[in-house]
């Protein structure tokens, strides 16, 4: 199917199979179509179909809330064309060449599964074709048994890697996480679309690093810390990681975070914020390089970082409400320039 998009910066054409989504097909062709979650929740990838028609995968997607469906508004991440389409997209879009890093569909099979806590699983995918991606990026996973895609950040990063590492938190009513938790899924095949997201770490910027993550949002932070550690970045820069969970028992990857903090000898500080439990001590009983605080993770970051935002880049990932709170802290308290605040919202 031929898709024509009219944008605020010109008109572009691309091909989209009936099985693919308008957003994904456009991104694969190098168009910088607007998106954030790429899975129907945020509403950023809105477009208006002026001619033609499309099938909507997730009709109840929260991202439709502000759209005028009677006028043809669609979430491009949920729209599969059933004819040639003319779509208006109210954003500036450019066509770029990706040097091998443009998002694509790949198949992968689930290779390693390890339960980290009562509701968190570490799992790895073996890719059909290698993928290059930055620390902090994510992909959309879709399993044949589960309707719709889910966005997950990789814990790892690299050039031409053939394995993606993820952490998945079980959510009440979350179809994909239920599938992961309730089934013996080792060896099953999933579709992987990515890499996506611009919440990426660039060592050449020379900034101190502040990471604020809730739950499985820690995945992207781990890839950022790993990359920084590998490049000896903390020799000249500081790092702060604030990781929000409900209770002490809900923490995960603490061994890895504690090891990084120990290796960096005070240049990297890690704080675990407990929102639903009083912390038993000032530091974690098992991981002495992890400090404990009570309350919401954005509040913990605000209290700790006051007056320490010099030359900082902020990374934020987690549930939307947590991300919104953390962004306010970074802009209002930290007075960071929006250019140096990067975030992913997952719901």
């Amino acid at each position: 199917m031929k898709i024509t998009v009219e944008t605020n910066s010109g008109v572009f054409d691309f091909e989209c199979e009936a099985t693919d989504k308008l957003l994904y097909a456009g991104l694969t062709r190098g168009l910088t179509l607007p998106y954030e979650c790429a899975t129907g929740t945020c509403g950023t990838c809105r477009g208006r179909i002026m001619q033609g028609s499309a099938h909507i995968d997730w009709d109840q997607a929260p991202g439709f809330a502000k759209l005028k469906r009677d006028k043809g508004d669609v979430l491009m991440c949920q729209a599969r064309p059933s004819s040639d389409c003319l779509v208006r997209v109210p954003a500036k879009v450019v066509a770029r060449s990706g040097c091998g890093t443009l998002p694509q569909h790949r198949t992968a099979h689930i290779d390693a599964l390890r339960k980290l806590t009562r509701d968190v699983v570490h799992f790895e995918l073996a890719l059909s074709r290698p993928m290059s991606f930055e620390a902090g990026q994510f992909v959309v996973l879709e399993a044949p048994e589960v309707k719709g895609g889910r966005a997950y950040s990789m814990v790892n990063f690299g050039r031409e890697v053939d394995r993606l590492v993820f952490v998945i938190k079980q959510k009440a009513g979350g179809a994909f996480s239920d599938w992961v938790f309730r089934n013996d899924i080792a060896g099953r095949t999933v579709d992987v679309f990515g890499p996506l997201g611009r919440a990426t770490f660039h060592p050449e910027e020379g900034k101190n690093i502040l990471c604020i993550a809730g739950g499985s949002g820690i995945a992207g932070m781990l890839s950022i810390i790993e990359r920084a550690a590998k490049e000896d970045y903390f020799r000249d820069h500081t790092g702060h990681v604030f990781f929000g969970v409900r209770t002490l028992e809900d923490g995960f990857y603490l061994s890895e975070l504690c090891d990084y903090a120990a290796q960096m000898e005070g240049r990297l500080k890690v704080t675990l914020a407990l929102s639903h439990e009083q912390s038993p001590a000032a530091v974690h009983p098992e991981f002495p390089h992890i400090r404990l605080m009570d309350g919401l993770v954005a509040d913990a970051a605000q209290q700790t970082m006051s007056g320490r935002y010099d030359n900082m880049v902020g990374f934020v990932a987690g549930p939307p409400i947590m991300v919104d709170g953390a962004l306010r802290v970074l802009i209002r308290e930290g007075r960071l320039h929006p250019q140096f605040v990067r975030y992913d919202k997952f719901s």
Binding site: G10, T44, K66, P90, K92, L327, H337
Partner: protein
């Protein structure tokens, strides 16, 4: 066009935004330290209520929902912001903030050059 009294200068502390309604026109007064701006209440990006999502720091107003940002002293767009912020002219008189309100400023899609006759941005 007439100047209309919106509030007292002291009603809006530095680096805050506050919502007022004047003759059925709802607007926000923003105090950015170097002065005041009177702006429509919604972000021109995705209609977020700026009274809640907006943060003022370093003379810039940033909508913390998607980090669109404007320099309040020059009204320049910052970073990846794609639409200008509209504003009412403002003056201070005897400790009051007055805004020049002719008609309510609303973000319409007609403002865009390339895409006309569309109300993509208008309020549902």
């Amino acid at each position: 066009m007439t100047w209309k009294r919106v509030c007292k200068v002291t009603d809006v502390p530095e680096n805050t935004l506050k919502k007022f309604t004047v003759d059925e026109v709802t607007l926000l007064i923003a105090n950015y330290g170097g002065g005041f701006r009177a702006i429509p209440p919604l972000c021109p990006h995705m209609q977020e209520p700026l009274e809640e999502s907006g943060v003022i720091a370093n003379c810039a107003l940033t909508c913390t929902k998607h980090l669109w940002s404007w320099d309040l002293s020059s009204l320049d767009m910052l970073g990846e912001t794609e639409r200008p912020l509209q504003s009412y002219e403002v003056k201070l008189e005897n400790g009051d903030i007055l805004a020049l309100i002719d008609k309510e400023l609303v973000y319409e899609f007609e403002d865009e050059d390339d895409i006309k006759d569309d109300d993509f941005f208008s309020k549902a």
